[in-house]
Amino acid sequence: MVLSVNGIKHEVSADPNVALLTVLRNDLDLTGSKYGCGVGACGACTVLINGNPTRSCITRIDSLAGKEITTIEGLEKNGRLHPVQEAFLTIDAFQCSYCAPGMILSAAALLNTNPSPSEDAIAKAMNGNVCRCGTYPYIVKAIKLASKSSK
């Protein structure tokens, strides 16, 4: 089947029931999306599907025909970082950063639907993304910064 990832169409030979995360990482060499739990409970594998944050580890590829998939590799446009990436860099939020791609995509999706979220709204929208290093307050700060800068 054909998967459209970051604006590029890929012919994929994997079984239809294989998880998108597996295809991204192993067939397309897009390793920015991370494996964290395999059950959609940590958010490390988050990608955008038609703009909606989606756990790629529990999303079968046969559900994705005709849909546009955006991974962390697709956020940077012509060498320019996405405003959310810029904000995370400015706040210097992370420690090990393994959660970073999933956090950034979830945050980008949140700001698309709610350009000026309150801290409570951020916590609610981001609650499915785990940062085991516990950098949450800096992530909230970065999202606030991105929300202002994207105005």
Partner: protein
């Protein structure tokens, strides 16, 4: 020295660096190795005697070689700052070479909050020696004395002629090796320009763009994917196995070595299918301890009469002379590290040499494990640790490295293994469970007359009381453990400080004394007092609180970090507990990077909240019952209260580590706040798995 291998031979030095200036920090003062200049001397330093080295190349690039590894502590940044400071060189001219056993000197591992106080100090001195050497080289080149020469911005500068020469130009065509051991003048913290200031994560961009390759992301030509057959429960014996179906799959290799069975395949999906096609029969051991009876089990199954401990005076007499006596047994459950990147390794064999990329806190320890398993000389094994998706003390061992190497050997091609979350929960190791008995007595004026503290199984770190006590008996008694246990951030200190600081507040309440005043009265350590006062001030300890609200305080010093934590909680009529805010003061000497230190302390508080409130491994009959992130609860955005971190910068004191101490105050501070609000003194970690008091 056992198996003497000389790493800094001239040949190796040239191979590694291609010339230039190298300054090696030698752990022992080996006079015979002092100030060797390569062309004239045999310059060879035993591997085990070198702590770190710095190379300045002809291009001016400063390469720093250390066995420490980056797991998110941001030491790649802080160590760079330390070197940049002493060499007065731009941060961008420094490259850290970390955790590669072929390239860096031996290091026991990255744990125990030792990077900043030990490696930081070694690199500081090595860089200071390099600075001195560069000045001497410039003096020679300009035919002048060193008196008027200084360094700035990667150059040596003449104070009168204002002539400059870059480090690269100075080291061009040179092959100089200097060794130092100690007593090198370094720049005092009060004069720091680069260290002591916030600098962003040096390679932050590669992480937020998803470009950084963790081990689990790596791919090399011809690489295969491996999976390992796991037992259904601990101590299960393999009775029979049918490998035929898996072996029949195209491209699949099945490897069996007694009870070790693994598969390799050209892609990860096929490897998974092959594993499922293995038909194994196991004899399981059903009669194994469970969560429900673990504490009883630990007390009844001690492995020796008495472990480490300390004894002064007479605790019985002290207790008899007390106005208020209080005994309590505290319980600490097993918890899991849950590093977001699970164990992963990529191994390949070439000409009898094994190379393994793996995320371990002990690259040289894993090299030794591999040497034992494969009966190889250590020189034949290279372990490389790319910056890893966290560890928290949970990645000291090399399970995935051994598995990948076994499969790669059998397959004749490189093999990558990435553990599933379930494997990580089940086959790694846990923070030990423990039972802690405390019996103490106090006089009405707040004098502690007796302190008896017994820790079963969870460990001795942080066990000794830090308060004045004439009569004390502190003991650690190891037990048989049904679950594999090991290091965890701050080790046993989290449980021991929980018991001690809970008990201290109970004693204060027993004599109706303010629990901060009670602590201060019994403290001699000025740094501990200072953090308690700083936390109380920022928190507003003296301010009145609303009905249903409670305040709690706790503190300790651990591995050079001094910490005090205040918490405010609300317990409503339904006995639901809400953590409202936490204020934590922290002092670890001269601060190297304020933002990264604050981040580390913030992270420790939030991780600490998990073990304090709800994290707990649930097990029975040799199975982990919550081996999934859907079942094992870790702190999330919604669990984070308002947190204030107060950092005290003591530029007059050496910098200590900060990875661990920050976690120990949260649990007792919250517990004491719940007690203040509700009258209920919880004695078990986690305290409120369901968010309510029963």
């Amino acid at each position: 020295m056992e198996n003497p291998s000389f790493i800094l031979t001239r040949r190796k030095f040239l191979k590694l660096t291609g010339g230039g200036l190298v300054v090696a920090f030698v752990l022992k003062d080996l006079l015979s190795f002092a100030d060797e200049t390569l062309p004239s001397g045999p310059a060879a330093i035993p591997t085990g005697e070198v702590g770190a080295w710095i190379h300045i190349g002809e291009d001016g690039l400063i390469s720093v070689y250390t066995g420490k590894v980056e797991f998110g502590q941001n030491i790649r940044t802080s160590l760079s700052q330390i070197v940049a400071e002493e060499l007065k060189a731009p941060l961008s001219s420094i490259k850290m070479v970390m955790g590669d056993t072929d390239l860096v000197p031996y290091d026991a591992g990255t744990f125990g909050s030792r990077t900043t106080p030990q490696m930081g100090t070694q690199l500081r001195k090595a860089a200071a020696t390099a600075r001195q050497a560069l000045i001497e080289m410039a003096a020679k080149s300009w035919n002048t004395t060193t008196a008027c020469l200084s360094v700035e911005n990667g150059m040596v500068v003449h104070c009168e002629t204002h002539q400059t020469i870059g480090y690269g130009a100075l080291t061009k065509g040179q092959q100089i090796l200097r060794t130092i051991s100690d007593n090198v003048p370094v720049i005092p913290a009060k004069d720091w320009k680069v260290a002591g200031k916030t600098a962003p994560k040096v390679d932050g961009r590669s992480f937020i763009t998803g470009k950084h390759a963790y081990v689990s992301d790596m791919k090399v030509p011809d690489m295969l994917y491996g999976k390992v057959l796991r037992a259904p429960s601990y101590n299960a014996k393999l009775v029979a196995v049918d490998l035929a179906k898996a072996k029949g799959m195209s491209g699949v290799t099945v490897v069996r070595d007694e009870d070790f069975i693994g598969v390799v395949a050209p892609d990860v999906v096929t490897a998974g299918k092959a594993l499922q096609l293995i038909d194994a029969q196991w004899q399981e051991e059903k009669d194994q301890p469970a969560t429900a009876d673990i504490f009883d089990y630990l007390v009844k199954n001690t492995t020796r009469e008495e472990g480490a401990g300390d004894k002064n005076g007479d605790v019985e007499a002290g207790l008899a002379g007390a106005d208020f006596r209080h005994s309590q047994t505290y319980h600490v459950n097993y918890i899991a590290h849950v590093p977001l990147e699970t164990r992963a390794a990529l191994a390949g064999w070439s000409d009898g040499k094994l190379t393994v990329w793996t995320g371990t806190q002990r690259p040289f320890g894993v090299q030794e494990e591999l040497a034992r398993v494969f009966k190889l000389n250590k020189e034949k094994i290279r372990v490389i640790v790319p910056d890893t998706g966290s560890g928290y003390g949970g990645k000291h061992s090399g399970e995935a490295a051994i598995e990948a190497a076994r499969l790669a050997k059998a397959a004749g091609k490189p093999v990558k293994i990435v553990w599933t979350r379930e494997e990580e929960f089940t086959w790694a190791y846990f923070r030990p469970a423990g039972v802690i008995e405390v019996a103490a007595g106090v006089k009405k004026d707040g004098t502690i007359t007796s302190w008896k503290f017994t820790n079963y199984n969870s460990g001795s770190p942080g066990m000794d009381t830090q308060y004045k006590t004439v009569n004390k008996q502190v003991t650690h008694i190891p037990s048989k453990t049904p679950l594999r246990q090991g290091s965890y951030r701050a080790l046993a200190a989290t449980g021991n400080v929980f018991a001690r600081e809970s008990h201290m507040t109970d004693l204060a309440r027993g004599i109706k004394m303010d629990s901060l005043a009670f602590r201060l009265k019994n403290l001699e350590d000025d740094r501990f007092k200072a953090v308690l006062q700083a936390a109380a001030r920022a928190f507003g300890w003296d301010k009145p609180k609303a009905p249903g609200h409670g305040y709690g305080i706790a503190g300790a010093f651990e591995k050079g970090g001094h910490i005090a934590t205040c918490a405010e909680v609300l317990v409503n009529e339904d006995k639901e507990v809400k953590i409202l805010r936490i204020t934590q003061a922290f002092e670890c000497g001269a601060i190297v990077n304020p933002h990264h230190l604050e981040n580390q302390i913030m992270g420790a508080i939030i991780q600490g909240l998990g073990g304090a409130l709800f994290e707990k491994i649930d097990f029975a009959a040799g199975k982990i019952l919550n081996a999934s992130l859907a079942a094992y609860r870790v702190p999330r955005f919604g669990d984070v209260p308002k947190i204030e971190v107060v950092l005290i910068d003591r530029k007059d004191l050496p910098s200590a580590g900060a990875g661990e101490a920050g976690i120990v105050g949260v649990a007792p501070a919250v517990r004491n706040a719940i007690l203040d609000a509700s009258g209920t003194g919880i004695a078990t970690l986690p305290m409120i798995p369901n968010g309510t008091l029963r």
